[in-house]
């Protein structure tokens, strides 16, 4: 029994290696000779990156009843963190994923969308279509210190921080001056927004040493729920607020962020149209050669 198993295993290994070799051979050939089943990698339900991505690419569309529905294919690998998306795409030649542009690194390759490269410039002038706002939201009448921190985030100093890895929303914002407040602010929500708010909170605390800021990282929908239920003072979302959320919360956009669509470095694909991305993520297209 054991022997049989080990033989099978050995055979599987050998065939696995030869299969690898095979695909490498075809790669060097004709253009668009990139074959194989696409590994679709998505984020979890409730992730702001996913929310924005499906909305902007049309993966979220109206169903027969006329209600908006997320049609991401059920075969998509669900990665709960940006890191897992990066690791999967970096290691799997057939993979495609999407991440915040602020998390982009050189282990993967970002494709152009409708021939437009994902750059700050192109997002600002609106030609790169998959970009979303970073929002912070509070209930009506937030505490004085909460309101003060939000005003800092959209001030000149705050926007300068946003300009580091993300895109500013207001280049002519007024200078912020500390009012000498004290108190505690609790913030929770999107893991995409959290690195930016963390930096802003550090700068804010330098100006307002008596204010204490507590930052918890969950995800966009979680952040909105927390803010609506009073679990935290400020919720963070890496997407537009939904209509249902707008009834309870008022949002402020503190930065813009592009969503980079990423593929493996061995993948020759340089450009994808929004329509192609939609068909990949809804599962209509499952093979790379179908995109040729």
């Amino acid at each position: 029994m054991k022997k049989v198993l080990s033989v099978i295993l050995a055979m599987a290994m050998v065939s696995g290696f030869t299969a690898c070799g095979g695909s490498e051979n075809t790669e060097g050939g004709l253009e668009n000779a990139f074959n194989g089943t696409i590994t679709v990698i998505s984020r979890e339900d409730g992730s702001g990156t996913r929310g924005a991505f499906v909305e902007l690419t049309g993966v979220e569309k109206k169903n027969e009843a006329g209600e908006k529905e997320d049609f991401t294919t059920v075969e998509a690998v669900i990665a709960s963190k940006t890191d897992a998306v990066l690791t999967n795409v970096a290691g799997d030649e057939m993979a495609i994923g999407y991440i915040s542009m602020g998390s982009m690194n050189d282990t993967v390759k970002a494709v152009k969308i409708d021939s437009v490269e994902a750059t700050t410039e192109n997002i600002k002038n609106g030609s790169y279509s998959i970009a979303r706002p970073f929002n912070v939201a509070t209930k009506e009448n937030p505490s004085e210190v909460t309101a003060d921190f939000i005003s800092f985030m959209v001030s000149a100093q705050g926007q300068q921080i946003a300009g580091g890895s993300y895109i500013t929303v207001d280049d002519a914002a007024a200078e912020y001056t500390a009012a000498g407040l004290s108190g505690k602010i609790t913030i929770s929500g999107s893991s995409s927004v959290s690195p930016l708010v963390e930096k802003m909170a550090e700068a804010y605390k330098e100006l307002n040493p008596d204010v204490e800021i507590e930052l918890n990282t969950t995800d966009s929908t979680g952040g909105m729920n927390d803010a609506a239920n009073g679990v935290s003072d400020i919720g963070m979302a890496s997407r537009e607020l939904k209509d249902s959320e707008k009834q309870q919360l008022s949002g402020t956009t503190i930065a813009m962020d592009g969503i980079a669509v990423i593929v493996n470095k061995a993948n020759p694909t340089e450009n994808l149209t929004v329509e192609q991305i939609k068909t990949i993520y809804t599962g209509e297209v499952t093979e790379w050669e179908e995109l040729a």
Partner: protein, 284 residues
């Protein structure tokens, strides 16, 4: 030596079954130990180059993702949850061994519930902590909610090891203590418990190990704030959570590996300690 091998070969010729089994034994143990070595070497190789002194500075900033606050939070978490869990665990064991009527209904139920508690997965503890401490009691994501969740989680560990240690105390000692006129209570505190200390200690070490490595039970109770919590009601993050969050956005992968190295060192330390205690136990 050569003769020995020859003899072994002769045996195996006679019984191929024995040969196959011997082979499987060696393969299995090699796999088990090899896996451990592989994981350890892999993590150490990936993490050690990034262990910079900055990672141990007292202040966490988004530029320098120091793990010091998380280390301190972990220690606080271990300490406080032990303070809560120890009296419950030890006194329960004392009741079971020294007072309860053997085989009574209550004893059965307590055993059954302890057994149940030790089988509950971390995520269910986390879920419960989130429903009960965070939401129903309104503690929000807080150190206290995390501590309470962990305390319940480690309770069965301490209870069981203490019980075993108490049972191992020879009955003569109790008789002698009674004979000298000591009451039940005095006997428990002056005779039985002191001699059960190493056993209890091994439970404590197990509990520390579990707490240090825990993530699923803490994500939705303790939260993930990167600073040392300054009150029972503020959030925080332990070292394992720190590693989880650091890797999250793909911005600090190397630092996450460095954190993993520290975690591994802690776990190895805890294991070594528990080995020492176990040795001491055996010698007596």
């Amino acid at each position: 030596m050569n003769a020995k091998i020859k003899q072994a070969m002769a045996t195996y010729k006679r019984s191929p079954f024995s040969f196959i089994m011997r082979l499987m034994l060696i393969l299995s143990i090699t796999f088990t130990v090899g896996m451990l070595a592989f994981i350890l070497i892999y993590i150490l190789a990936k993490g050690i180059p990034y262990l910079s002194p900055g990672l141990f500075s007292f202040n966490y900033t988004s530029e320098n993702v120091s793990m010091m606050p998380s280390i301190i939070t972990t220690l606080m978490m271990v300490g406080l949850s032990l303070i809560i869990s120890l009296p419950f665990g030890i006194f329960t064991a004392v009741y079971l061994v020294e007072y309860a009527v053997k085989g009574s209904k209550v004893v059965e139920i307590i055993r059954l519930t302890t057994e149940t508690l030790s089988g509950i997965p971390s995520i269910v503890y986390g879920l419960f902590g989130n429903i009960f401490f965070v939401t129903a009691l309104g503690w929000k994501y807080s150190f206290l909610a995390g501590v309470m969740t962990i305390s319940i989680m480690i309770l069965p560990l301490i209870m069981r090891t203490t019980e075993e240690a108490l049972i191992a105390v020879p009955d003569d000692w109790r008789q002698a203590s009674f004979g000298l006129g000591a009451g039940n209570l005095r006997t428990v505190f002056k005779v039985v418990l002191p001699s059960a200390v190493p056993g209890i200690l091994s439970g404590v070490i197990l509990a520390i190990g579990r707490t240090v490595g825990e993530t699923a039970a803490l994500i939705y109770t303790l939260g993930t704030m990167a600073k040392i919590p300054n009150s029972l009601f503020s959030s925080g993050r332990t070292l394992a959570l720190h590693m989880w969050v650091l890797s999250g956005e793909g911005l600090h992968i190397n630092q996450a590996y460095a954190t993993a190295v520290v975690l591994i060192v802690m776990v190895v330390g805890i294991n070594a300690l528990s080995g020492l205690v176990a040795n001491k136990l055996q010698k007596r």
